[in-house]
Symmetry: C2
Subunit: 146 residues, 2 copies
């Protein structure tokens, strides 16, 4: 188990991979983001995305899954207050193989609660060609040892 | 159909409601955010959240669904480049009834593409007691008329 004290600026925590399927793109969009460019190739071909692409929120959910399974669930995570910045840089397509890394930008003990601290990350999600598809910056609250 | 020209600072677009169930909280978490406080009441009771609560990404997905069905799909939306700020303010619990509004903060024609513009929003998601559970600021790209 990794605690607040174990995180330090410059560390990198890799996550993934996850292969994105057409079926999951359409299923997520049908439930949560029913816009034509996430649901139907023909409609999507005529849009800015130039073809079927995953909902940006689906990419967030897949990033969260990869992060939890690769490193976050082996830390004393207590959740997050939010997102400082999130950029959807490129479409995520059926067949894309996503992976990435969480880079520690800084650590800060909580000023009010002695049992925890904030670890600020830049998370980079890329496809199998190394193209960044999403960039996220946020802080995660991590419990202190003992 | 609502186009870029139809949006103006100060307008409010309501969305929702959506009643959150325990089953959907656990199902989303099992697939995308398998941390104990999103999966199991007993484990959750001992955490910062004080009981089972939806993944923040689940709240994002439900917000997206409400927004799409309530007003976004009746506009010429072309997607979004990202999120400027996102705050998870309160836990979302089984039985919560979510709704909210998208407030227009400003409009800006695209400098490079004559067929579209950026509409900046503050989106507020609240529960049935009027407590804000999530705040999001972002720009959505909206097509121009004709």
């Amino acid at each position: 188990m990794r605690y607040f004290e174990d995180f330090a600026e410059g560390q990198e925590y890799p996550f993934g991979p996850h292969t994105v399927t057409r079926a999951e793109i359409v299923a997520f969009a049908a439930e949560y983001d029913p816009q034509p460019f996430h649901l139907d190739e023909r409609a999507a071909a005529e849009t800015m995305l130039g073809g079927l692409a995953a909902s940006g929120w689906h990419t967030c959910a897949l990033f969260m899954r990869m992060m939890a399974l690769s490193w976050l669930n082996a830390s004393a995570s207590m959740g997050s207050p939010g997102i400082d910045s999130l950029k959807w840089r490129r479409p995520v397509r059926p067949g894309d193989v996503l992976s990435g890394r969480s880079v520690v930008l800084g650590v800060r003990p909580s000023g009010s609660k002695a049992d925890r601290g904030f670890v600020k990350f830049r998370h980079e999600v890329a496809n199998e060609r190394g193209e960044v598809v999403m960039l996220v910056e946020n802080s995660i609250i991590i419990g202190r040892r003992g």
